[in-house]
Structure formats: C-alpha cells, structure tokens
Amino acid sequence: MNDQSNTPEDRSTRLKGMGCSRKRVEDVRFTQGKGNYVDDIRMDGMLFGDFVRSPYAHARVVSIDSAAAMKVPGVLAVITAKELEPLGLHWMPTLAGDKQMVLADGKVLFQGQEVAFVVATDRYAASDGVAAVEVEYDELPVVVDPFKALEPDAPVLREDLAGQTTGAHGPRRHHNHIFTWEVGDKEATEAVLAGADVVAEEMVYYHRTHPSPLETCGCVASMDKVNGKLTVWGTFQAPHAVRTVASLISGIAEHNIRIISPDIGGGFGNKVGVYPGYICAIVASIVTGKPVKWVESRMDNLMATAFARDYWMKGRIAATKAGKITGLWCHTTADHGGFDACADPSKFPAGFMNICTGSYDIPVAYLAVDGVYTNKAPGGVAYRCSFRVTEAAYFIERMIEVLAIRLGMDAAELRRINFIRKDQFPYQSALGWEYDSGDYHTAWDKALKAVGYDALRAEQAQRLADFKAGKTRRLIGIGLAHFTEIVGAGPVKNCDILGLGMFDSCEIRIHPTGSAIARLGTISQGQGHATTFAQIIASEIGIPADDITLEEGDTDTAPYGLGTYGSRSTPVAGAATAMAARKIRAKAQMIAAYLLEVHDDDVEFDVDRFAVKGAPERFKTMKEIAFAAYNQAIPGLEPGLEAVSYYDPPNMTYPFGAYICVMEIDVDTGEHEIRMFYALDDCGTRINPMIIEGQVHGGATEGYAIAMGQEIAYDEMGNHKTATLMDFFIPTSWETPHYTTDHTVTPSPHHPIGAKGVGESPNVGSVPAFSNAVHDAFRPFGLVHSHMPHDHWRVWKIARDLGLHG
C-alpha cells in the first residue's frame, strides 16, 4: 500500500468518521429480524409472570382469593402485596422521590394497577391463572381532573401520606397535592404584567399521551442460587441506575447484580422508570430459583407504564405595542396520576419546564408548577424530550401565537423581533439557564425563505377569499415554530437521579491489529449509537469506523453511566467518547514519537497517523502504533492502548430549530392534509447526517401523532378509553407527512466535538408547528386557542363554534 498516493481527504473518507452518512450498522440485523430483544430470551425452565390488574380507578381491595388460580394447570404461585410485605417490597421508591405500590396494598389508585402477580410454567397458563384470581373490590369516589382533585372535599387518594405536610420537593398544601416548584421573580414579573401595553393570557393544555414504543416493557430475572448472582435482562434505558436502585431496594450487593439491556425496540422515556413487573419477576425468580419472564401486552403498556405530558399551563405574556416581549408568567397544574413517578433530575420536579422562555429574550419571568395526584396511571416521563422541554416549547410557541393575535401582528415577525440575538450568547435566561450558543435569526430567515413564506401567505389569503365566496370548504394553515431545547443532562453539580450524578462514560480498547471495542454507559433503543459513536472515535484517533465494535447495556462490562434519554447520549457519552479517544491519541503520539525516534512534540496527528512535523513522509499509522503498543517495550510507557473517560458536562447543550407546517383543513369533516413540513435543525456538529434525518422523520411523526390525534383519555369513572391501537393513534405510512429537512450548524462551545444532540428536537419542535397550523387556519375567524389533539371532531368543533357550518 502506498500511503503517500492518498490525499488526507481520501484517507479521511475511508475512516467514515464524523460528517459521513455511514449506513447504520445495526440495521443489518434489525432488517433481517435478527435482533435480540428481551422477549427473544429463552432459558431452561423459564417461567412466566402476568398481572391481575384493577378494573377500577379507585377502590379498596377487600380480598384476593387465589385458590382457583392455583388449581389452573401450570400455575405455580400467586404473589400479592401480603407476600411482598415481609421483604419490604410491597412498595418501591420512584425516581421522583415518591413511593409507589408494587402490588395493591389495601387499595388501587388507577385502572390497570397491578394487584397480583401470577407465576406459571408458560404464558398461556399465566394468562388463565390471571383470569381465575378473584378479587373483591369496594369502589371509592374517583377524581380524574387535577383541578377537582385539589378541591377541599376531593377524595383522599394517598392515604399512606396522611398527615405528611412535606413531600420530596417541599410543602404539600392539600391531601392530593404533591409539590409546588417555583422559579424566577414573581414580584417583578407581576409588576411588568400590571404595567404592560399588552398582556395576552391563555390556558394551554398539553394533553396526556404515551410514548408507546414498538416493543413494550419487559424483563427476564434470573437468580442463580449457587453463586448468589442476580441477572436481569430488561428493556432498561438506564441499566446502571437500575442496578444501583435494585441493590438499594433489594439489599442484594451491587456486585451480585448484573443488568443487561439487550436490543431495545424504542424507549422514548417509557423505559426509564422502575416498574412493578421488574420487582415481581425478581422476587419470583428468587423464590422459585428459576428464570422468570414478564413482558407487557400493548394494553398493559398503554394503561399502566409511564404516560407523558398532562400539563395545564396557564400563561400570561406581556409586550410593548411594538411587540417587544417584556415578561412571561406561567402557572402549571401537573397531573401525575396516582403516584409521582416522573423521571426527572432530582432537583427538578417539573423537569426543565423552566426553559419555557424558549428562543426569546424575555427580561423577566416566573414559573410555578403544582404537582397533583389523580386516579390515573403514574408516569409523566419525557416522551422523546428532555424532561418537560416539549411542554415548555409548546407553551411558549402557543403563547407567541396568542400574543401575535392580540397585537395583530404576523407571528413570524413577532418571533424575529424577540429572538435572542447571536451576540447575546452565552445567554442568561430569566429562569436560570445559560444558553450555550445559538443563531436563531439566521435559521429563521433560512426557513422562511425555503418555504416561500410570503407566497404561502398570499395563497392562504386567496384561499380565504375563495372560502368566503363559497368556492371551497378547505382552509390553509401555516404553522410556525422556533424551539430551543435544553438537553444533555447534565452537570453533576445540579443534575442527579436518586443521588446519582448525571455524568456518562466511555471506555475504548484498541486491539493489537488496530481495530477496537468501545463500551459506553448509555444504551441505544434504536438511535444508532453503534454507528455514530464509532464515527466519533474514527475521527478522533484515525481508525476506520468499520473496525470499531460498540457495546452498551451490560453493567458487568460497560463503564457506569446514567443511560439514554433526554437527548443526553451524544452531549454526555459522546463527549466522554471523544475524551477517551483523546487520551488514546495522546499515548499514541508518544508511541509514534518513540518509533520515529523524535521528541513527542515533533510529531503531529494527520487523519490516521502521526507524522514528523515538516516531514510528512515519515509517519506511523494508527495500525502500526497499536501493534507497537502491544509488542514493544517502550521506556516510560505501560503496554496496551486503552482509556476510559467519565465526562461531567460543564453545561447543557441547547439545540434549536425552525419548523414550518402547511396544512389544508376540511371545515366540514375536520380532516386535514399536511401539504408541507419543513424542519430545520441546528444540533451543532453533525456526526451522521443520515441518522439525523432519520431521527427528524421519526420524531416529527410522533409529534404529528400527538398534535393530530394521539391521547390517553379517561372517562369520569377513570376508565381508560384508549388502551388499544384502534383508538390510540399511531400513524401508518399513509398518514405520515412527507418531510423536508434542512440545517444550520452552530457548534456547542463547551462540547469536545461541538455536538448538541438531535434525537428529541423533532418531537419538541413539530408539535407546536402542527398545532399552530390548525390554529392559523382559523385565525381569520377569531380562533385564539383550542386544545390538542386536533383530531377530526375537535377541528370540526372549532369550525362549528366559529359558525362556519352555516
């Protein structure tokens, strides 16, 4: 091989490093059905567990009779709270500082709650066993509305908290109240509102929905009684944290617990929390000495494991007559269901809701959030978003539109005059964040130009005229959104989950022949980590991405990390990867210098090699260096070539984007058609543009579902009304819009490679874009705000209420 005939560009291309649209290495197995998911795990003598669930939303459990179930052939055990109590496992701590029943302890608080766990030799027997357990309930009054839950005479949901006036996040002022969280300057904000030229006020509801990953939650627990080691394969987005929590609540020493997350079929926050199924499977395995599998059905998943959103956000926004925003006020009523099982960093009971000033330079702001118990399933997880960023982005992007209406202004222009300017970064927000970087005006102008904004407005006006003339029944809506995210949690100084700092990690080992394995503290659920993280290493140390194996999810082998959610993998573990690679590169430099017989400082890194400065023909490739690391005694250097990095990020990263949706709406049926969806993302340095595009398509499709029909709905009795995919909207390829993607690049100044994370941006940004399009279509008729989801009948109702049906 004649290396010199290759230009640095050629050599760089061969690495398939950062910036390359390298094909996803995972897809070879996924597209052939060769993935290895939890439910693919089969072990000798493996048993199955399944739950008896409550048909009531609020009831006393009078008695549980397992006798008939125990007679079902194959049923081995029926576990209830009574059996778990001696082990102290009938309740478990939640990630939000609350506690949650593992199995109904005297009462149930939501429909679908776990009441008993039936263990059997196969899932058919388990299912028959579940049907045979007889439970007697005594119904109690139900409250599903968080405002009613706070009325003085509302039913008491959490009798276990009787007399507790302080919770994990401060004082509780009512028996169904969980916490109040306040940020910002209340007095100053209220003073600005009182004296403002214009104040727009609105109640913005982000309805309850569900991450509903393709693969539901599940696990296989296997207690090896010979060596005392517990192994749990599970759909865990944070395997290391699960190990620590499992050790703390079970008393099993942490080194005797091995948690393995195999392939995961989507998580979106649904797989961050700890669920009763895990505890019950573990207990059942300890009791029986056999591996025990528990896998949710789709209905179980939609009814019982973590939901998302359900935030009632009352907003007031103040501005001058010219449209300069002077203050923002928000009070949120957060419906947490029967237990507070959110998965937010401990110090943030409402996640990063205080990013609700969005992309705008708002001098003063105030946010208060009240958490409330209701008779609904627990959760409140970040469904493809960083801890309530989606709620915050929806809130501010709706408030901007409402303000534009009050001012009689174009909403694109209103945004433009209020954006934080490029020269203001790093920007200190009124609610306490330091935005690391941004260039909103450039992105916005590029987006408006790309969609032909002025021409669209002209077409819309013409359509409106035609509508009024009776020539058409379809309106056009132009939905705008400019979002700013806050991702990459996070700095250990203010981000922890159950006391575990939210750093992350990467360990890299270079093999003698120059290939490598890297292990991370994160876990891919479809994001393509094995593809992209190898690209970071390829660029940092000059070995081809194709020669790097990437492994995650086995706590016995991977370095400790807090897992994958909140778009944190690239910002935190990606940074750790670059830092570990740089440690290797530093050692490689010393090895190269020794081999080339020059001083360390006399060689420089050149794509895939170190070369003598000024004499590029004298070099050692990384392959040669790797071999030398294992077969030469180099004075002053240990053999081997490996490194580990634990990265504590100095700040969050702040990806942003400009999304525009053009929608046609049939006024008579409430149906819609997405004519165009343009998504411009700025996620800083782009590691794999194809993966970014895929993430944008996926996230925007979830956003489309949420905005246009997806919801978790309950009736007054607390009956779950959307527990199947017939009623819980997941778009098929037919409904899914076509997307046009675009980008600008504003690297993060504090991240080693300038990357910011993109996995969640499209969900965060698309929901307001879709929703604003619906609102925009009806703006000429006086619509100010109407709650999501904008399914057919709700859009139809907007038209009817505005008198458009004649």
Binding site: S127, D128, D668, T732, E735, H792, W793, W796, R800
Partner: protein, 277 residues
C-alpha cells in the same frame, strides 16, 4: 393478550362443519379469516369451547359472475374481491369499498362472509350489501334458506342467522347498466372503522343508500333511496339523518357524527351522480 383454551376443528366439508355446530351448540363458533373473532377471544370478551375453521371447505370460496347475479362464496377474502377485474367491471363499488377496509394484511385474511356475518356495526360490507340488495344463503341442519341483507341485522352482533347455520354464499343482483355508484368513508387512519360511511347507487329510475357505523346495525333507508331517485338530494340526506342513531366514542360526539354522516353522504351522492351514465 392470550385467549382462553379451546378445541380447534378443521372440517373439509360443509356437512361436517354444520355437524360440529350441532354437536357443540353455543359452545362452538366458526372462524373464517379470524380478524374480528380472534381479537375478541384474545381480549377474553368471547369465550368459546370449540372453534370450527372453515378454510378447508373449498365450496365456500370463489366469485361467479352470472347474467343477472353475482355470487360470492363466504370464504372469499377481501383481497380476492379487490383483485377480481370481472367483479370490478360489474360491481365496481365492491372494490371501492373493500379498498377502504383495514389494511392489506387484514384484507388477505378477512373474508366477505365473516364481514357480513359478524354483525359488528363497524363492518363496511353489511351496509354495502344492503345498498346492493344482496341476499345471504344460510346452510343449516335442515337445508339452506336465503335471507335478504336488508332483513338480516337485528342489533349489534345479533343477526337472523341461527347458531347452527353457516353463511355459504352472497348473491348480489347486478345493477342496471349506467348506474352510478360511490362508497365514501371517513376514518381516523388506515385500519380504523368508519366515523361515517355511505354506500350509494343511483340509476335513472331507482337509487339505494346505506350507511355504516351510525347505528347498532347498518342503516338502509327506503325513503332516502326514493328521494334520491327523484333527484332530491336533501330529501335523501334528511331521510338518512332520521334513520341513524350514532353513539359517542373516541371518534367524536353524536352531533359531530350526524354532521359528518350528512357530509359523507352528500359527497357519495355527488360522486355517484357524476359516474352515472
């Protein structure tokens, strides 16, 4: 999502199938494509001791186009209905409606017999068959009888079929040449049942109109057909609105469904009139 245990039978001829139904009474049920029945069993809403699979009974399959009638075997899949060009030539509304049922996977399995025998108000074929004035052949221990689609549906999941009868064939009169047709369905997504659907046939002297998922049975209105035949579209819509009785569900409240029913019907009428020659 696991059904309770059951006994599985797979007879090769009609007589054996009927015999099994007689032997096991209401403990037994036939299964065709299984795409309505099996979900109900998995939800444990339907509990059966015996499942009698009809798929090996060859005589239940096939489409015969006669001079005045089309005869379709009960076990003919929705996919086969769509794929048959001869059928599309004489009864294009069947292809138009079938393409709006569920998704291709379901249509490969789901049969026309299962769809019309099921008695679910959400099924599209019953309304369509009423619009077309089809009749069903029911074979039982005492032989075969014919029941008009318009007289078959009594309430949700209750039909004129006896427990030990099997629906063998559907006989559809071929509409007069030049008859305009349309099947218009509003739904939330692919794979959803109708929010409202309208089947319309309109010729020069006669018309027929039926609606789906707007009552606990399909709704065919003689008055609506007469009005439309007389060229009175609004009279037709008014007659249908008087006949339907929609219930609120996740698709929307009653008022919305009534409005959409009228919109969908008007669109179907416009389209059928435009196709009339």
């Amino acid at each position: 999502m696991i059904p309770a245990g059951f006994e599985y039978h797979r007879p090769a001829d009609l007589a054996s199938a009927i015999g099994l139904l007689q032997d096991h009474g209401d403990e037994a049920r036939v299964v065709a494509g299984g795409h309505s029945l099996i979900p109900m069993m998995k939800l444990r809403m339907t509990d059966l001791g015996h499942l009698v699979d009809l798929q090996d009974i060859g005589e239940l399959r096939g489409i015969a186009i006669g001079a005045g009638h089309v005869t379709i075997g009960a076990m003919t899949s929705q996919h086969d209905l769509i794929a048959d060009d001869r059928l599309a030539a004489v009864l294009p509304i069947i292809r138009e409606a079938s393409l709006q049922i569920a998704d291709p996977q379901v249509r490969y399995m789901g049969t026309i017999g299962g769809n019309v025998a099921n008695g679910d108000p959400g099924n599209d074929m019953p309304g369509l068959m009423q619009c077309l004035n089809a009749s069903y052949d029911l074979a039982g221990p005492d032989g075969t009888r014919q029941v008009a689609a318009r007289g078959f549906y009594q309430a949700a999941y209750f039909t004129a079929r006896e427990d030990d009868e099997i629906l063998t064939r559907i006989v559809i009169p071929v509409p007069a040449a030049g008859t305009g047709h349309a099947y218009v369905k509003q739904k939330r997504k692919i794979g959803d049942y109708a929010t409202a659907a309208a089947a319309v046939l309109v010729g020069t002297t006669s018309a027929s109109v039926a609606m789906t998922n707007l009552s606990d049975t399909p709704v065919w209105s003689e008055a609506a057909g007469k009005a439309l035949a007389a060229g009175d579209t609004e009279g037709c819509v008014a007659a249908i609105l008087a006949a339907i009785d929609p219930q609120e569900d996740m698709r929307g409240p009653v008022e919305f469904k009534r409005h959409v029913a009228a919109v969908v019907l008007r669109r179907a009428i416009d389209s059928a009139l435009a196709r009339r020659t």
